[in-house]
Symmetry: C2
Subunit: 348 residues, 2 copies
């Protein structure tokens, strides 16, 4: 007994039990007061309880709460290697940002779950061990075993960003095709008709969808649909450099290039400028993503911004609705991008 009194500095958090003792009421009453079940106690007892809580510095233990309530008010942010490092591309951070913002606003917390390919089997334990109420899979690799796992699991799941097309899960993604169509249509509207494109790897769904959008716009405008105007890259700046040069050699009358992402666009600009070809006066360049650097380079890059943060938010929204109402979202939520017009495209 004296021991308890002697340990002022390092003593453990008080429990609801001690609060009850201190206030001279039952545990149940403390709980009721704390939950504002106001028909179950008098103002007097409430005051005594609150006094005890204040005096003892009581904070409810969320783990115990989760155990009995069978929910943790926590959502998982799942990211698989090789993305791994969140920062490598700001893509992930922006998704996280939106996801976090929405979740926190409605009272959920976020746990980050990273899976390495190798230890996928081991780490998968974390996915459904009761520590989260729901999971959002962000930009999963196309062949991720998680996708099949997710479609048969008990726990609410949503997939967001770069979703492989045939995917029977609730999903939110960028409207690649629509955005590409709009970019192409817009640039045609600027008077260009000899337009090259540097795509991502066409084995990837997102790159294929963008290609489709561009082709649709080209077709409507009666432009040449042949592969002469296409260079298949891999979203690297390096492929932007070689792609730009290669396209220009194949089509000397080229006046514009649509790049699959900003990095490729940066590479293209660099390569062209090194050869004394002016951007945008001779060749116009448009990118995809609106990465931070886009506004710092010269000329400032005109590009299609992906609504990353909004996608994160939407993912959280869908997930939380599923958790709280049991209603699983079935639609494919395609968010559209925004064309950020800067200086790298010239009106002819």
């Amino acid at each position: 007994m004296t021991e308890m009194l002697n340990q002022p500095a390092r003593r453990n958090n008080p429990t609801i039990r001690e609060v009850a003792l201190f206030a001279d009421v039952s545990i149940a009453t403390v709980s009721n007061v704390l939950h504002g079940k106001d028909t179950l106690y008098t103002a007097l007892t409430a005051e005594r309880v609150r006094g005890a809580v204040r005096e003892l510095g009581y904070r409810p233990n969320s783990v115990a709460r989760s155990l009995v309530g069978q929910r943790t008010k926590t959502l998982g942010f799942v990211v698989e290697q090789p993305h791994g490092r969140l920062t490598r591309n700001s893509y992930m951070s922006q998704l996280l940002d939106g996801y976090l913002e929405f979740s926190v606003r409605v009272g959920y917390q976020i746990k980050i779950i990273t899976l390495t390919n190798s230890s996928c089997e081991i780490n998968r334990q974390q996915l459904d061990d009761g520590s989260v109420d729901g999971l959002a899979l962000f930009a999963p690799p196309q062949d991720s075993p998680l996708l099949t796992w997710a479609s048969s699991t008990r726990i609410p799941v949503v997939v967001a960003g770069s979703v492989p097309q045939p995917c029977a899960l609730p999903q939110v993604d960028f409207d690649d095709e629509g955005a590409a169509y709009r970019v192409a249509t817009w640039i045609i509207g600027q008077g260009h008709c000899s337009i090259g494109r540097i795509t991502g790897l066409l084995s990837q769904w997102s790159a294929r969808r963008r290609e489709r959008g561009i082709l649709r716009a080209f077709q409507e405008a009666g432009l040449d649909l042949s592969d002469t105007w296409r260079y298949e890259g891999d979203y690297s700046s390096c492929c932007g450099e070689t792609g730009a040069i290669s396209l220009l050699e194949a089509n000397p009358d080229l006046t514009a290039i649509i790049c699959g992402n900003d990095r490729a666009a940066l590479g293209a600009i660099t390569a062209l400028q090194q050869r004394g070809i002016s951007v945008p006066d001779t060749v116009s360049i448009v990118g995809f993503d609106d990465m931070d650097t886009a506004q710092w380079i010269n000329p400032k890059l005109t590009t299609m911004r992906q609504p990353m943060s909004e996608m994160g938010m939407k993912a959280a929204e869908i997930l939380i609705r599923h958790i709280e109402t049991g209603i699983r979202d079935e639609a494919a939520n395609l968010l559209s991008g925004e064309l950020i017009i800067r200086q790298s495209v010239r009106n002819r």
Copy 2:
């Protein structure tokens, strides 16, 4: 009808109790097998238990585990508004990256805790409600009430990044003064002796420490220590623009500018180039941070890279050691930066 079909997929996770029943052993035995307490069971029972686990698809509930074990194997990543959005500056994402990487490697998970100034009192509940074993406060505002709270709390805490100087908590930070000293010494070594500087707000500790480092180098080299060579900015690109011009007007023989961060450096370069002043031929520019854009602009920016990821790792390391051994780190862990030499500084 469809509802009926949906039910079997939605059945709850099996508990250790059901595994025990299935394998016809006690709960304790299941637990022992799962924990590899190999003196406590025969190979035969182990096989029966593992069979049951497999058959039922049992996964231990981590919440229950945490409750009895009194630890969650989870660390908090605490970030206060107005940083809020992780992505605004990649600063936070990089810290998170390192923190995450180290933690995951040694078996800890990460929960993100964002605090808005307004609801600080409310959200503070989350900080010590038993849901995390330790907390890392990243780049707290100088006057953050969290800092005083943290120094008197029971739970292990570490502060990382932009730590206010008088802070009695375990901490890891960038060696601002040392890095600034090295940058200044190096640029003097390149033959410059008319060197301006654009600082951050000198009310902030980090900016003051950098200023001190620069002055020490200037003093050792016998350079003019007066304020003529100093422009106090606020780490914005805008202040870089006005700062560069203002310094140049005050000191026409200026040959180099040390910028408090990369954003200011970018602003300075833009402003100088707009006036037809060549960088680095006429004026050299050196930055601080090594933001992504630094390698994309022309000329590529020479800058002092902050070891953000390493700082995150170090924070996790210190925290976990404190948690597991009870030994609180008392040293101020100052990590040094790396000078990334690119093209924006000319050797005279």
